[in-house]
């Protein structure tokens, strides 16, 4: 029986459990809530949850058993029997337990809490799993390629016949250069937009502009990438790079940086707007009360008060810039190069991770495994930035408790 059908059957059992649990509680109490320890819906929910959860646990467990023991369970017979059996047993036991004094309310609370904990753990455990799998591949890579050459090599020339130079610096340089340009665009514009929205805009403008900015944040980055490729790149090449003699490449660090900056504007402005709004009105009143103008108040009181939070927002934007891939693939090109000229094509860590893993790949060669080393490096960098950002933002929150 297919898994999805099993889940549906479990749902049906749970529904039946709810109805029957409720009915039994009603019967034994003579439909008088005051003699029951727990209200009728709790008895119903208790049976339903117990049956459903036992079924799910059995379903997962039989999957694990199959994986570990290698039993061929082609028609899913074992799984079906285990799952439905566990659900039915739990159904029977919990239904049988219903008495006037049974503490169904407390048990249900515990079950609900358990479900919530399980959901939270799934997210955390997956993250740990991802990191672990990357760590193993990375260790594999460093067994075949010297660590120092990877971290400090200035040459990136992977060859599929082997004997590649896999120095990370040109890629890291590309990442940092593009991110830097993106932040130079996004931070001032995003911040000014946030100040306008938070301090100057009337409720009508704000009501329109803020959702609009947030919609911008939802545009898929591949769309920004296309914009970089067919519009921004050629314009920069024709009107800036070529006339100034800085090269004639359509894809360049500048193209990717500018477009990525535009992508980050709503991100920076939305976060900063929230943070500026969190500055207590009393602070502004104090400043106006002394005879400060609006811009003096913003510059000298509101922004300094919001600064730590804004720094946090900028760091979060930076970590997004560093991890961004699509815009760079389409905007910056694929040439690993250590150069200062912003109109030259360069590439970034993320782009190279993709290109090392696409096409014919052999998961034993350093040319492929290097992707994991790059990935974990990126992970550590962005994790560090995020931790720093969250720390700063939290510190700032405490200030106004």
């Amino acid at each position: 029986m297919p898994g999805i059908l099993l889940i549906l059957i479990l749902c049906a059992i749970a529904a039946a459990g709810y109805v029957m649990g409720r009915r039994k509680a009603a019967t034994i109490s003579g439909d008088d809530n005051r003699v029951l320890h727990s209200n009728k819906p709790f008895h119903g929910a208790n049976v339903a949850l117990a049956a459903f959860l036992s079924g799910v646990v059995a379903l997962v467990a039989s999957g694990v058993i199959r994986g570990v023991t290698g039993i061929a369970d082609s028609a899913n017979i074992m799984t079906t029997v285990l799952t439905l059996g566990a659900a039915a047993a739990a159904f029977y036991v919990t239904l049988g337990r219903i008495t006037l004094d049974y503490r169904a309310r407390n048990v249900t609370e515990q079950l609900v809490k358990g479900i919530l904990i399980a959901a939270a753990s799934v997210a955390i455990l997956t993250t740990i799993g991802i990191v672990l799998s990357m760590v193993f591949e990375t260790i594999n890579f460093f067994n075949q390629y010297p660590m120092l050459d990877f971290f400090f090599g200035t040459n990136w020339t992977p060859r599929f016949q082997g004997d590649s130079d896999l120095g990370m610096l040109p890629l890291l340089w590309g990442t940092l250069y593009v991110s830097f340009i993106a932040l130079m665009v996004a931070v001032p514009i995003g911040l000014f937009a946030a100040i306008y929205l938070a301090e100057y805009a009337g409720p009508r403008v704000r009501g329109i502009a803020k959702p609009l900015l947030e919609v911008l944040a939802g545009i898929p980055t591949i769309v920004y990438g296309l914009f970089a490729l067919i519009t921004v790149g050629p314009i920069l090449r024709d009107y800036f790079a070529q006339p100034m003699g800085l090269g004639d490449s359509g894809s360049s660090v500048m193209t990717a940086g500018l477009v990525m900056g535009v992508m980050l504007i709503p991100f920076v402005s939305s976060l900063s707007d929230d943070i500026i709004n969190a500055v207590p009105q009393a602070m502004r009143d104090g400043s106006y009360g002394i005879g400060a103008t609006k811009s003096e108040t913003v510059k000298q009181v509101v922004l300094p008060a919001a600064l730590p939070g804004i720094v946090g927002a900028i760091l979060l934007a930076a970590s997004r810039a560093i991890g961004e891939t699509m815009i760079v693939v389409l905007g910056a090109g694929a040439a690993a190069r250590l150069s200062l000229n912003p109109f030259e094509a360069m590439t970034t860590v993320t782009v190279k991770i993709v290109s090392q893993l696409t096409g014919d790949t052999d998961f034993a060669s350093p040319e492929t495994l290097v992707a994991f080393a790059l990935g974990i490096t990126l992970f550590v960098i962005t994790l560090g930035l995020n931790v720093l950002a969250l720390y700063i933002v939290r510190k700032y929150r405490e200030q106004y408790e």
């Binding site: 009393a282 009143d285 009360g289």
Partner: protein
């Protein structure tokens, strides 16, 4: 009511600082102040009392045009400061607020050092030519605010790190630093403990020698202790206005009497 000491103070006839004539204030459609006439004297502490929501803060905020910062708020009628209409087109509310300082209910020091909190106003208004001038203004203001001795060794420490009472005196010193002629205080002690309250009250009494002080308070004892004139507000009306001891010992309006004897409020 035993500790309601009403001091006999010589209420000398002072010049009029603020004069309000037929002042109405509207928040959108609702009328919060319903036509008030009032004369506030120089070098006097005037207390505004009344049940909450009766418009004390609203009227106080008319006097330095802080209501301008609220979009829906509209003020009609005439308010003059030293005979000049403060709602006249020519008057810049920003300059007015330098002349009419304000202290708020909750102490609101800026997230800056103690020194910069005080220096903020003088810097904005260009009151000091040199660093020495500015140092001098800061010291004088902190002395007037009766907090100099407590903070003189840590002027670089953040103002937000002081205790509540110290913060409020810092805010008073900050208001004094722009050399105002009038100080408006909106329940300046409501967030303070009794000791800090006593310190601030003592300070208010000293400030009277140089400034006209208007204080909103929900404590009748406080009004009795610090003010020479008292105005009783009720539902947007100014019910009674006169020398403090008369208001408290011999109220003319039955509403005033019910309020001070605790029957409304």
């Amino acid at each position: 009511m035993n500790d309601m000491r009403i001091l006999e103070r010589d209420v000398d006839t002072n010049t009029i600082k603020f004069a309000g004539r037929d002042v109405h204030v509207y928040y959108g459609e609702t009328e919060a102040i319903k036509g008030i006439d009032v004369d506030i004297e120089d070098k006097t502490v005037t207390a505004f009392i009344g049940p909450s929501g009766c418009g004390k803060s609203t009227f106080l905020r008319c006097l330095n045009r802080m209501n301008d910062t609220i979009d829906v708020c509209r003020v009609t009628g005439k308010i003059t400061l030293d005979g000049e209409d403060i709602y006249d087109r020519k008057v810049d509310p920003v300059q007015l607020r330098a002349k009419v300082g304000m202290v708020f209910q909750k102490p609101n020091p800026f997230p800056k050092s103690i020194y910069d909190n005080i220096a903020y106003g003088p810097r904005i208004h260009g009151l000091a030519k040199t660093k020495a001038d500015l140092d001098d203004i800061v010291e004088q203001s902190l002395r007037r605010g009766a907090i100099w001795d407590e903070v003189k060794d840590r002027l670089d420490a953040p103002g937000t790190g002081l205790s509540g009472g110290q913060q409020q005196r810092l805010c008073i010193a900050r208001a004094i630093a722009t050399a105002p002629e009038v100080l408006l205080m909106d329940e300046p002690c409501s967030a303070l403990d009794p000791i800090a309250t006593a310190q601030v009250e003592e300070l208010i009494d000293e400030l009277r020698t140089n400034y006209s002080v208007v204080i909103v308070t929900h404590s009748m004892q406080q009004a009795a202790r610090v003010s020479q004139k008292t105005a009783f507000f009720h539902l947007g009306d100014l019910v009674e206005f006169g020398p403090t001891n008369e208001i408290f010992t011999n109220p003319k309006d039955p509403r005033t009497e019910s309020y001070i004897t605790g029957r409304i409020g």
